[in-house]
Symmetry: C2
Subunit: 363 residues, 2 copies
């Protein structure tokens, strides 16, 4: 793996830093050697994120980071900004990095490679400008219905808001299925997942609208066809009721998940980036999921941000008893029960199918 | 207006021909002088469409059409194919048209201008290749919340399927509002509407997914800001429950319509282009719309395809009494009652607001 630095100046400890967070948690495409954010200089990126030290230092400047890591090959823009623009203070750092011979990786909607100044510099210093979203804008696969061939268990994590931890919970479920002896494949649907290096990854929200359904179907179908897994775990983008990032519908429509896990942050009152819009009650999401997919969520997972451990558990138990849906706080407790429940439910359905088939043969 | 021919070979009388149908019904950008479809040669395009003669002949070949209309300036690809490809028999006709000096207008996902053979020919014969969808792929307007400023009545027509007549019903409502003395603006959301020449038009499904919400908000806001209308009428693309074209959510999320009219084709059993998927019951759409927008549809409009006039009316009355929602068959009866109902409902709300404000001043 090539070494990479993450640029998250001023934003590592905000929800804009979710690309950086994903890479600090998990990275198979690049070896992350540090994060640049002067407001957190000297701390460990893992410790800031979730209290777990990961040996990834936060540097006060790009210069400092590069002095400590002279063999680094990539600078990754570690933030997702509303509207997808490159923050202005990042421009100079990107230019310095290009001049220093680093390739630049960006998941922003704003394409670095489309700007003449960056393009010229990149050519001169023989580095690549990798705009992850540009790759997916060209994807034009129509939906065909081949998703119906996929007989692996399809699990999707949706959320009541954007930037709420859907991908992280999905990866935890995927790992738990593997621990249970099931072959699970995780499919990433966003730019962070692509950067993290998952073999099956699309950037759903960079695809032209009419081809989103086809791209989702295709990546799930390919993962199934090529890997023959027992389980496929993936996640939606945005939220079913988000005014700016309405999402999850395409995944339900064309990915046709067998089970949906709903990620919820009880302490979050307003939509990510849109404090003028209140997040509707959890109940509404449960009803919507039932209408759209034919089933209630199989489980609810709690993002415990701004909650004490005690409060997170208390709320989880309340939600569980109110809605009769298994509810877990992944940061503080095992999610194995969710995996067990999904496998049991699936077994019941298979059992019923076998019985129905036996019955029809007897008659 | 410049003269244009529509190419719809073999498909004018199918749901793939919806671009042609829209242009035969209404065209302000181009003057439509004929349709090319050898399977319907000699008939009138309006008569084939809905029994109403419009003086637009269907020609058996491009050569015949061009002989009859030597001053035509544009050839419009009049079909929308699954996946957005140019049907192979259309290729030769497009090449002939370019050589004959015609500009080509296409709403297909497949870009004519991106193919070297067409691009070379177009350059040589000095004609334009206008790929409508390419224009909108570059649109990157983030959602901001400015939609809340819009105090015109916002009406959106959604449908239980794609290619079901949402745009046509929306235009009828728009015209009815104007007849009622209200200033109405129609906003087109698809490539056909753009080709038809509406001042406010986007091609929603050609926009990169993350910017769909922002584009919808922006076009509605601009129409309101620039025209100061009483009413804005628009329409969704696809259908809330379509496996391949899930749509309507973005419009509800970011356009925040005050009233939704639901277009339904009772005789249609399977989704457009996807005979393996049954259209779910109407009731499910009503519930979804209520959950997503906070209100049931204000009215249901019936697409009477494959129904006798009598059956269409019978079903409309049944739906009306089952769901308690005003239901009309726009092809056979006036939709003025829908307009009246919307204006009355709006008046009631305004009245309540005034009373609440008076009350708060008195207290």
């Amino acid at each position: 793996m090539e070494k990479a630095l993450i640029l998250a100046e001023g934003r590592y400890n905000t929800s804009d830093g979710k690309t950086a967070h994903g890479l600090v948690r998990y990275s198979q495409r690049y070896q992350i050697v540090g994060v640049v954010d002067s407001t957190l200089a000297g701390r460990d990126a893992g410790e800031v994120l979730d209290g777990v030290y990961r040996g990834i230092p936060i540097y006060g400047s790009f210069e400092e980071a590069i002095t400590e890591n002279p063999d680094v090959k990539y600078l990754i823009i570690g933030v997702a900004t509303p509207g997808g623009y490159l923050p202005s203070v990042y421009r100079e750092i990107v230019k310095k990095a290009i001049k220093r011979g680093l390739n630049i990786v960006s998941g922003l909607h704003y394409f670095l490679s489309s700007e003449s100044e960056f393009a010229r510099l990149a050519k001169r210093y023989k580095v690549q400008l990798i705009d992850v979203r540009k790759i997916f804008r060209e994807l034009k696969i129509p939906f065909s219905g081949k998703i119906e061939e996929v007989n692996a268990i399809k699990v999707a994590v949706l959320g009541t808001d954007g930037a709420i931890g859907k991908r992280t919970t999905a990866i935890m479920l995927h790992e738990a299925f593997n621990r249970f002896g099931k072959k699970s494949i995780f499919i990433a649907m966003g730019q962070t997942g692509w950067m993290q290096g998952f073999k099956y990854a699309i950037v759903m929200d960079s695809i032209v609208n009419d081809f989103v359904a086809g791209a989702i179907e295709d990546v799930i179908w390919r993962a199934w066809k090529e890997e023959n897994p027992d389980v496929i775990v993936t996640h939606g983008e945005g939220s079913l009721l988000h005014p700016a990032y309405p999402g999850g519908f395409e995944l339900i429509a064309s990915g046709r998940p067998d089970y949906i896990v709903l990620q919820h942050a009880p302490a979050r009152k307003y939509f990510d980036d849109f404090p003028q819009y209140e997040i509707p009650p959890l109940e509404k999401y449960i009803q919507l999921i039932e209408l759209l997919s034919g089933k209630k969520p199989i489980a609810i997972t709690i993002n415990s941000e701004n909650l004490s451990k005690e409060d997170a558990f208390k709320i989880a138990r309340e939600i569980e008893s109110t809605y009769g849906i298994l509810t877990k706080v992944p940061l503080y407790e095992s999610i194995d029960e969710i995996v067990k429940l999904i496998l049991e439910e699936r077994m019941k359905i298979k059992q019923m199918e076998v019985e129905a088939s036996v019955e029809s043969q007897v008659l």
